[in-house]
Amino acid sequence: MNNSLTPKAALREALPTIFGYIGIGAAFGIIGQSSGLSVFIILLISIIVYAGAAQFVVATMLLTHSPILSIILSVFLVNSRLILMSATLAPYFKKESLIKNILIGTFLTDESFALGMNKLNYTNNRLNFRWFHTVNIVAYVTWIMGTLLGATLGSLITNPEKLGFNFAITAMFIGLLYLQIISDRSIKINVQLIVILFTLVIVYLGLIFIPANLVILLTTILACYFGTVIKHAFN
C-alpha cells in the first residue's frame, strides 16, 4: 500500500479481497441453489441485499417461511455493524457531494471498510471518493460473479468448504488487523492489543448466550467502549 488515491491504486489494493468475495459468494450461490431457490432469485439477493453473512440468514429464513418482518429485522441486526462503519467513514467524506456519500455508503462492505481504514495510515489520514468507490465496485462485481458461479456450477463441487476459500475473508481480516496494529499511530500498541484480547474474551463468552451473528455487533460496541476507557487509563 502507498499514498496514491487513484482508481489504479485501488484496483491493485483490492486484489486480495477478490478471493474472499468469489469464495463466499460462490458458497452463497451453492447454498441458495441447494435450498431450491432459482438462479435469478439467488442473484437478486446478492444484487439487492448485498450483505455477506446476512444473505445466508435470508436464504435459511425464506425456506422456513418466516414472516417478512422478522427476516428484515434479523438482516438489519446482523448487518447493523454497517452503521458503525458508515459513521466512522463519514468524517473522511464530508467534502464530497451528497450523491457521492450515498454511493460510498450503498456499496460499503466489511472488507472495503477495513481496507480504507488501513489506507488512512499511508495517506496522511485522507480518503477520497475515486479510490474508495473503485474498491467498493470491485467488491460488488466479484461478489455477484461469485454468486453466479456458485448458483450455476455449484452442483459440480460436492464439498466446497474443502477448497479453503471460505477462509479467504478471515485471512484478510487477520492481515488487515495486523497491518492496522503496526501502522495506526493514533492508538498505542499496548492499548490495541488489550482491546483485541478483550474482544477474544467477549466473543467466547458471547457465543454461549447470543447467536453468532449478533455476537460480532455486541462485541464491537463493548470493545470500542472498553478501548476509550483504557486509552485514558494508559495516558
Partner: protein
C-alpha cells in the same frame, strides 16, 4: 416452495434495511461534527470489528454451553499470522490462509 411475491417483498425489504444502515450515518453526519468522545469511540471500530470477525470464526457455537474450537480455522490462522508478520502483503496473507486451510482439510 415459497411464493414469488413473498420472496420478492422479503428481498426488497432486506435490501432497504441494509441500504439505510449503510447510507444514513454518512448522510446525517455530512453536515455534523461528532463530539470528541464519539470519535474516540469510533476510532476503535476497525480493530474491534476485524478481531471479532476473526475470533468468531475460531469457535463453534453451542447455545447455552461453552463454544468448542474450530480447529481447522485455528490451525490455518497460525501460518496466516506468521505470513502477515513476515511479508505484510495482503495478497500473500490471503493465499497462505486459503492454502493452509485446504491442506488442513485434506490432512484431517
Amino acid at each position: 416452495m415459497p411464493s414469488t411475491n413473498y420472496i420478492l417483498y422479503t428481498i426488497i425489504g432486506c435490501g432497504l434495511a441494509t441500504w439505510l444502515s449503510r447510507i444514513l450515518p454518512l448522510v446525517i453526519l455530512k453536515n455534523m461534527t461528532l463530539s470528541k468522545k464519539v470519535i474516540e469511540f469510533l476510532n476503535f471500530v476497525p480493530i474491534a470489528i476485524m478481531s471479532s470477525l476473526w475470533f468468531e470464526s475460531l469457535f463453534i457455537q453451542h447455545i447455552g454451553q461453552l463454544p468448542s474450537i474450530e480447529w481447522p480455522n485455528l490451525l490455518a490462522s497460525i501460518p496466516t499470522v506468521i505470513t502477515a508478520i513476515l511479508t505484510k502483503s495482503l495478497l500473500l496473507i490471503v493465499l497462505v490462509g486459503v492454502l493452509s486451510l485446504s491442506l488442513i482439510n485434506i490432512l484431517i
